[in-house]
């Protein structure tokens, strides 16, 4: 369980998060939507313990966190295998066991045969799969996904989202998926939070069974000051690809 109680976060004098309160239960798959710069990543970093709030309380019963960053943050001087194996070492694995487990996870991500490649020798999609393998290999109870596929093309995004969905089906864990792309979030989330530029957040009444267009119409594109969705405020625009 993760609970935020009246959490505030400032960067210098800019208040990014204001009195934020929410609860995330075990095995919830939560999508956090919102335009760029509203503090989505800040929330993840506070959960991960990288940032501390100015005020308020964060109660976290999380034991092991994995984080998939927007830019994959692989060690460029280590092979794909080592990049997945190294985070296993603090968990008590010896190097041989860590490498075996890393190879298994690279295989699950469709990267068998690429174990010895350095990140500079892999494509963007492969690099993000190594990053996912690194996250899943540590068997986290909470997975933080920070716009992990924003730099990838639609087809690759689809493949990787399916990989995550299958993995979550096989071993459910708590997931927080941050994105400004609603079509990504609705694919895997069972709860969706919308973060607004004023630093506040609302949970959207989203039923994943609804069609995506209904979701957009009813929830995401309701007018909010500074909301990126304002561009899609008439029916014709809303049905266009750009608004999806």
């Amino acid at each position: 369980m993760i609970q935020f109680k009246q959490v505030k976060k400032k960067y210098n004098n800019l208040e990014v998060i204001q009195n934020l309160s929410f609860i995330i239960h075990k095995n919830d798959v939560v999508g956090i939507l919102g335009p760029s710069g509203v503090g989505k990543t800040t929330i993840l970093k506070m959960i991960a313990g990288i940032l501390t709030p100015e005020s308020g309380t964060i109660i976290s019963h999380v034991k092991r966190i994995a984080y998939v960053f927007q830019e994959p943050r692989l060690l460029p001087w280590k092979t794909a295998l080592d990049n997945v194996a190294i985070p296993l070492l603090p968990l008590g694995y010896n190097y041989k066991q860590a490498k075996e487990k890393a190879a298994e996870w690279l295989g699950k991500m469709g990267l068998r045969g690429y174990e010895g490649y350095f990140p500079a020798q892999l494509s963007g999609g492969m690099i993000q799969r190594v990053s996912l393998a690194r996250a899943f290999a540590i068997e986290p109870d909470t997975l933080l996904l920070d716009e992990p596929f924003s730099a990838l093309d639609v087809r690759l995004k689809e493949v990787l989202l399916n990989m995550i969905k299958e993995q979550l089906k096989a071993a459910p864990i708590t997931v927080l998926y941050v994105s400004h792309m609603p079509e990504e979030v609705v694919r895997i989330a069972n709860r969706i939070f919308m973060l607004f530029p004023e630093g506040t957040m609302e949970e959207m009444s989203v039923n994943i069974g609804e069609s995506f267009k209904d979701f957009l119409k009813d929830a995401f594109y309701k007018p909010h000051a500074g909301d990126a969705g304002l561009a899609c405020n008439d029916t014709k625009q809303r049905e266009s690809y750009a608004c999806m």
């Binding site: 943050r73 603090p90 350095f118 500079a120 020798q121 892999l122």
Partner: protein, 230 residues
């Protein structure tokens, strides 16, 4: 070129220098001087490099240690090598210990500065990743910091090698009874100018061999991850 216009007592021609080198190479005396100087150079680079590297790592990890070491680093970088030689001669007398000590203390600040600066420039994103995945300090040093500073450090080692040769030879000229520096001082005193220039060529060779045959392959190996897409 200069040797065409100047007297042989001022500058030896390349022909005379190489001829003197060829004649010296077969002698036991030359081989002994070369071996002793090479050993001193590598010992000076090794100890100076190791001290600078370890202190640099500590300073990179802890700001307090950096604050403590900075005045010492500044002092060492400000001391003229000749002063270091004179003080070291007082402390250690003439010979290898003095030469290695002088080259070590002159070279260690260069490695120290490059290590500290390299650590300061390590990608913060990678450090954040290490924190999230709970990498210990040892794992961070081994897998994040040290590989990250290898680039600036290998560049520093090229400077250190060239400087190491100069410092060791200078220390030998002033305070040793064997080694290339000592042989150069004798050649100079006895006006054996081709022999003096032959030793200068030997100095070039030591720097060249160390840079291209030792440091080059090491640098290529540790930076092999920079290779392009396959």
């Amino acid at each position: 070129m200069l040797s065409l216009f100047m007297h042989g007592i001022v500058i030896a021609s390349p022909y005379d220098s190489f001829k003197a080198l060829y004649e010296m190479m077969g002698t036991e005396r030359f081989q002994s001087h070369l071996w002793i100087t090479t050993k001193r150079i590598f010992m000076g680079i090794f100890w100076g490099g190791l001290a600078g590297f370890i202190l640099g790592l500590l300073a990179g990890i802890k700001e307090d240690i950096k604050n403590l070491l900075e005045p010492m680093r500044w002092s060492l970088m400000s001391v003229p090598p000749i002063v270091a030689v004179v003080i070291a001669m007082l402390w250690f007398g003439m010979g290898s210990t003095m030469v290695v000590f002088v080259s070590g203390i002159i070279l260690s600040p260069i490695v120290y500065v490059n290590t500290v600066k390299g650590m300061e420039m390590v990608d913060k994103g990678l450090l954040e990743m290490g924190r999230i995945y709970k990498l210990s300090l040892w794992l961070k040093l081994k897998h994040v910091y040290i590989p990250a500073i290898t680039g600036p450090l290998t560049a520093a080692m090229v400077i250190v090698t060239a400087m190491g040769v100069r410092i060791v030879i200078m220390a030998e000229v002033l305070g040793a009874s064997e080694g290339i520096g000592y042989a150069m001082s004798i050649a100079s005193a006895t006006l054996k100018i081709p022999e003096l220039f032959a030793y200068v060529i030997v100095g070039f060779c030591i720097v060249g061999i160390t840079e291209f045959l030792v440091l080059g392959p090491i640098r290529d190996y540790v930076l092999r991850w920079k290779g392009g897409h396959q």
